[in-house]
Symmetry: none
Subunit: 426 residues, 2 copies
């Protein structure tokens, strides 16, 4: 058994549905997460259709170049479930029926009150000498083949995630932990930034990472936000955690702490909700182009009723006048999409509802409605509080739905930065 | 150029995030759908991390065994964007800066009002002799390399789906249709159903498909809706389309036409929007547990202002009374989450706004707030029109966000079925 080096691991998913694009390969994703967490990063994912020849050729190549391969799918009772046959050919093995597996299938059918059909027995056929991984969550068992030399250890699991996942938990993780005891600790930290382009983040922190070969940094941009993902590893848990904490501080210094709104699974709305609760402030929202998206993000947090009073979706000019008291002259003079109207909406929704804070958004989501002076993607967000208010302007270049999402993030971020400044006053 | 046989096509996705399980490889899924639809099924998907050596080894193997390879990701400006370098090595080519691409980048930054940083120029570096695939949807262009013999044609696309998809539409599909004119026609039809469980759909239509080996059917459940995906193929376009149309009718008869709300890329909100426009009816919305999600779905359709008047997010009881005129006694007597309050909210929002239709939703999204009589997931949707109204009750079993999404779908579907009955009266 290898102890001196990490094994090279590959994942093969099988299924013509994957090749036709009917669904994404979420098994490879889930398995990779589990493996990274125990210090076993995966080198390559691949997916092939339900053809014995294709899988045999592909598996033969993979099994000769890695130490461990996990193959998922194709263990069911139908004609396109060809994995056991292809695997038996590559591993030069005969298939044999496992009696315990047949017995478990019979019992499973009996529990569901369904007659047992002999067509199901093929699912109990496993390569000679393989260790059978029994399946309590479905019909087909998986199996594990260890050979002395030349070919990777192979683990075959059924394709349905509701079977594959508990089978990994029950059989595969314990096997891997025993065979490859985590010598090194792998730790990961994801920081969420907003309002900084990916290229600027890269320019600001790039040199930090060239210095340390144990540190890996990945940037992932989505919805006008960029995730900074730090991964490092080392022999001692405490030292690795301390190193990561050090990197976190350095990244914060370089990017500006205000630009990092959270870490790990924190969301912009969750962070804002926590700050509103902490400051015991209430909020009301007035939306035009975002059409309810700001409110729906804020109310997706359980307990939102403690800070969210109400929302107005004033899609028409009439409703901006009637519900928020925006002066009609203001709309006529500056246009619906203007700094002035955003401010008036924010002040109006605050006044009408008695909330501590009024947040408002008006913009042109597109695809139509733009002009040379006011192009599609132009958005104003207003925030009113106490005797003061603020308005920001943004120009987005996405499609309708993207511009709406970017606008929501900009609005939540304006609110967050305002509440941050309150924190600073303590 | 091949005309006598279908090319062998592979897709390679790159990104350490994929290997770490941060997200599923949805680019391979989407590209496969597009390719199958033009008669070019894919043989193999694979994914590798952001290491030049790994990608170079893997790409070299793949490019020698297939006719066409599409590589996505890794074209950005940062250090882990290594694809152009690995590709240039495998294709034995130098990288050179494309002036047009630099110019487009500068213009893009100018439109967003962001200073152009020279670090971005690396994105305009493409292999000598490659055809540049310009990118109007993001910064980094893609490219296409055709070599005479021995190596696959290579197409490199950026990783973000919002760039990759329109670039495929604009550059790749036309290229492939010209190079590989479809011999067999592959046609696919996706029907969208709501309010029918997957197992019931399967029971009702399963026998239809056992009869015809050319027909493939897939069911995909999500958000309380189920997609029925029909795929068939044959030599003659007309016959294949007619066969698919026949299957569509049979499926409609078996499932009930009202339960199929749309086909292909139609959405529930898009279908409802079309019906509202057709009947020249206006709508106002009052939301409690969905917190703006119904309005945001309805206003994500361009031109929503012709039917959507306004929305109220009446999260508190006070706001239900103040904005919608729900009698306080009604809330006290029946509770906020009740048939009576849902009806009163729908009638109230219609009366206050002058809309033709008032749609309202009240429920317990969870995770807290449930009682034995009124459990988490209990939702009432009300619709008011003319002198009449309707209320439906649903009991969902999801988490908070799922229950909210199911509620929105139930609300939109109630509206759809009402408008359908109006159609029937014509």
């Amino acid at each position: 058994m290898e102890t001196d080096r990490r094994p090279r691991i590959e994942i093969i998913s099988t299924g013509t549905e994957i090749m036709q694009g009917l669904y994404a390969d979420t098994n490879a994703q889930w398995l990779s997460q589990q493996l990274v967490a125990i210090g076993l990063p995966v080198s390559c994912h691949s997916a092939v259709g339900d053809s014995i020849g294709d899988l045999e050729r592909h598996l033969s190549l993979v099994a000769h170049r890695c130490d461990l391969v996990i193959v998922s799918g194709g263990l069911g009772p139908t004609a396109d479930d060809i994995n056991r046959h292809a695997i038996a050919r590559v591993y030069d093995s005969e298939l044999t029926e496992d009696e315990t597996a047949v017995q478990q299938m019979r019992e499973r059918f009996a529990r569901r009150g369904i007659p047992f059909n002999d067509a199901n027995r093929v699912q109990a056929m496993v390569p000679c000498g393989a260790r059978v991984l029994y399946n309590e969550w479905g019909t087909a068992p998986g199996f594990l083949i260890e050979v002395d030399v030349g070919l990777a250890t192979l683990i075959a699991l059924p394709g349905p995630p509701r079977e594959l996942r508990p089978m990994f938990d029950r059989w595969v993780r314990p096997y891997l932990l025993k065979r490859y005891p985590p010598g090194e600790r792998f730790v990961t930290l994801t920081l969420h930034t907003i309002d900084l382009p990916e290229s600027e983040i890269n320019a600001k922190i790039h040199d930090l990472f060239d210095a340390d070969p144990a540190l890996y940094v990945g940037l992932l941009a989505a919805d006008g936000k960029v995730e900074v993902r730090l991964t490092t590893h080392g022999a001692e848990e405490e030292k690795v955690q301390a190193a990561l904490e050090g990197f976190r501080h350095q990244v914060g210094d370089r990017l500006g702490r205000d630009n990092i709104y959270g870490a790990e699974d924190e969301t912009l709305e969750g962070v804002v909700a926590g700050m509103l609760r902490f400051h015991r402030q209430t909020l009301a929202v007035a939306e035009s182009c975002t059409g309810g998206m700001i409110a729906s993000r804020l109310t997706n947090i359980s307990g939102a009723s403690s800070y969210f009073l109400e929302g107005f979706i004033t899609y028409t000019n009439d409703s901006k006048v009637a519900r928020l008291g925006v002066p009609r002259e203001l709309i006529e003079r500056y246009g619906t999409v203007s700094r002035q109207v955003a401010r008036s909406m924010a002040e109006g929704v605050r006044a009408r509802t008695g909330a501590d804070l009024g947040l408002a958004c008006t913009g042109i989501a597109g695809p139509s409605g733009g002009t040379p002076e006011k192009p599609v993607g132009l958005v104003y967000v207003g925030l009113a509080w106490g005797n003061d208010s603020a308005v920001i302007e943004r120009r987005f270049l996405g499609n309708r739905n993207e511009n709406r999402t970017y606008s929501v993030n900009a609005a939540l971020d304006l609110l967050r930065r305002h509440l941050l400044r309150q924190d600073a006053r303590y």
